[in-house]
């Protein structure tokens, strides 16, 4: 048996499983379609249950042998001997070939060479092109050569060729010659003995969901977007402002906005109750009033402190699923029945935040279709096909469960390739 594993997706689970496999002596190719690793968690800033960085990803043995537990951004994934990180890379196809897999990859250019860039960021300074920064809800501008979040790994910037004018100012300023505007896409095929899908989830866009005025009113956001506002590296320095720049005084959160709903996504996304509570607490710390409309609060016990803290900090809970959000004098008004008071409420607030369901990444569906099951999620171990999956690729869940699943799959892969009768 060989020992090469391709891990698809460098979110939390993908990184975790890759570290474990590399620790166990297997050769790992970690493939990520974005320019930086971290997946959805990297957008979320502080994460539960520990209320620390999403970037804290220690999985390797170095924990006990060095001074550092590994921060994602310090671990320099790409530099581990047994672990090859391919960013900006998509899987074009996975073919089964005897007992092995032939995985073809396509890498789109970063235009910045990772092995040359010293991350001095001069190139970003000289760039004249400014476009709205999608990572920050388009509320601030970024350059054509940019880093989407300060903590993003790899640290080197990336060029957005759609807005680049090829003025070559960045090329000229880079004394180490790390920028190549003529870089081309590369394809390569890797022979692998196992494939692990860790393709993760994304928030389903609420614009396809009628009623909640998402897209109509700029002050109706998703929880991920709120996280970007709350993040101190975001557009507003962590201050929560409306689209018109006013300090937010009240926020209404709508849980299950499209989850547990046969018209949209019929399953429960598991993690949204807790991260909504986390955001509610962060908002309360800024003195913002918070109302949460829920049906059932589904908080795992290890995150129960969030519920307690939210209650202590006077978050208002309304049991009821809002039907719609109307825009009154520019502000969103949530219409909901408080089912415990038998009252139909019209809650005015500066922001409405939707806990959108977590769904598999749309892009991956085609290539992996034959490995996916209900709703586009994969089975953790699909034995006849020899494909493994972990993290939210197997269904929405929170970080602790993702990590546990990644470790479990690492062991399964190891046993299949190396040991175990």
């Amino acid at each position: 048996m060989g020992d090469t594993v391709v891990v698809v997706g460098a979110g939390l689970a993908g990184i975790q499983v890759s570290h474990q496999l590399a620790d166990l002596g297997l050769k790992v190719h970690l493939v990520e379609k974005e320019a930086t690793v971290g997946g959805l968690s990297a957008h979320l800033g502080k994460v539960f249950p520990t209320d620390d960085c999403a970037l804290c990803l220690d999985a390797c043995e170095e924990l006990f042998s060095g001074h550092h537990r590994r921060c994602q951004y310090r671990s320099l994934l790409g530099n581990q001997k047994k672990l090859n990180l391919h960013t900006l890379t998509e899987i074009k196809s996975i073919k089964q070939d005897g007992g092995r897999f032939s995985v073809s990859l396509k890498t789109t250019p970063r235009y910045v060479m990772l092995d040359r860039c010293v991350v001095c960021l001069e190139c970003i300074n000289v760039c004249d092109v400014e476009v709205p920064d999608e990572m920050n809800l388009g509320r601030v501008m970024r350059k054509a050569i940019y880093r989407s979040i300060p903590q993003g790994v790899p640290l080197a910037p990336v060029i957005d060729m759609n807005s680049c004018t090829k003025c070559t100012k960045c090329v000229d300023v880079c004394k180490v010659g790390a920028i190549d505007l003529e870089q081309r896409s590369k394809t390569r095929t890797i022979k692998a003995d196992a494939v692990v899908l860790a393709t993760g989830v994304e928030e389903r866009s609420p614009s396809i969901l009628p009623g909640y005025a998402y897209g109509l009113c700029k002050d109706v956001l998703t929880q991920r977007e709120l996280a970007r506002l709350l993040d101190s590296t975001g557009a507003t320095n962590g201050k929560v402002l409306t689209a018109s720049g006013k300090q937010v005084e009240s926020v209404t959160m709508i849980l299950c906005a499209g989850s547990r709903d046969l018209n949209a996504i019929d399953y429960c996304s598991q993690a949204c109750c807790t991260y909504s509570l986390k955001h509610a607490i962060m908002l309360r710390e800024q003195g913002v009033g918070v109302t949460i409309c829920y049906m059932d609060l589904r908080v795992p016990l290890h995150s129960h402190s969030f519920l307690e803290r939210a209650r202590e900090s006077d978050v208002t809970f309304v049991r009821g699923k809002p039907d719609h959000v109307i825009v009154h004098e520019g502000s969103p008004v949530t219409i909901v029945e408080d089912t415990e008071a038998l009252k139909r409420l019209e809650i005015e607030s500066d922001l409405v935040v939707l806990a959108s369901p977590l769904v598999p990444h749309a892009a991956e569906k085609e290539v992996f279709n034959s490995f996916l099951g209900d709703y586009g999620f994969a089975a953790r171990h699909d034995a006849p096909k020899g494909i493994y999956a972990c993290g939210t690729a197997t269904g929405p869940t929170d970080i602790p469960a993702s990590v546990a699943e990644a470790n479990a799959v690492a062991l399964e892969v190891y046993m299949a390739l190396k040991g175990g009768a």
Binding site: G320, E337, T339, E340, R344
Partner: protein, 202 residues
């Protein structure tokens, strides 16, 4: 399995306070849930009645309802809860006739409960007690006797003629009566006294 040997604080914390404090109890003496659940079971047997089972009381219907918006006592979610608990007092409640049958609730219901249909079924149950507007009774009588909801007048037939519109004939009333005989609707309509009094518009 000894409760005193518990060393787990989960069971000693009162995280979840009963929320009843938010609203006043409407009834002083508790209302019984009938042990045969007859009303509920009847509804479940009717066409689309079974969709009632899916209801998890999220309240989206109430917040979607245009009537609930102008009349806070009209609460589709609460009506469903009554049906779930087989509370037949709902069938005698005049409010159910305030339903527009606009189906806005049904369109938004996350569990595809046929809410207007269930209210229609409740109305049907209310007929015996007279919870039917006079207009509705009149229309029903008219359908049975003439096959139409409205009287056809001579001048109107002339107008149609003048407009060059074709004759539409007369509905076969006897056939209708024969098909409907076993339902006993005609007899019922004779005896029903609407609690609404007077007659509606039209």
């Amino acid at each position: 399995m000894n409760i005193d040997s518990l060393n787990t604080s989960r069971f000693l914390r009162n995280d979840f306070k009963p929320r009843l404090a938010r609203c006043e109890l409407i009834a002083v003496t508790p209302t019984s849930i009938s042990s045969d659940l007859e009303f509920r079971n009847w509804i479940l047997k009717q066409p689309e009645g079974e969709t009632l089972l899916r209801c998890y009381q999220c309240g989206r219907c109430t917040s979607a309802c245009p009537i609930a918006e102008i009349d806070h006592s009209f609460n589709p979610r609460l009506f469903l809860e009554k049906v779930i608990l087989a509370d037949e007092s709902l069938a005698e409640n005049q409010l159910i006739w305030t339903c527009l049958t606009c189906e806005q609730c049904e369109v938004r219901c996350p569990e595809h409960v046929k809410i207007p249909q269930i209210l229609i079924l409740a109305k049907v149950r209310g007929l015996v007690s007279g919870n039917t507007p006079e207009t509705a009774l009149d229309r029903a009588r008219s359908i049975l006797s003439q096959g139409r909801t409205i009287q056809v007048s001579e001048p109107m037939l002339k107008t149609r003629d003048k407009m060059g519109l074709p004759s539409l004939g007369n509905p076969p009333v006897k056939q209708l009566a024969k098909a409907l005989k076993e339902l006993g609707l005609a007899e019922k309509l004779e005896n029903i006294k609407s609690i609404y009094g007077g007659d509606g518009d039209e």
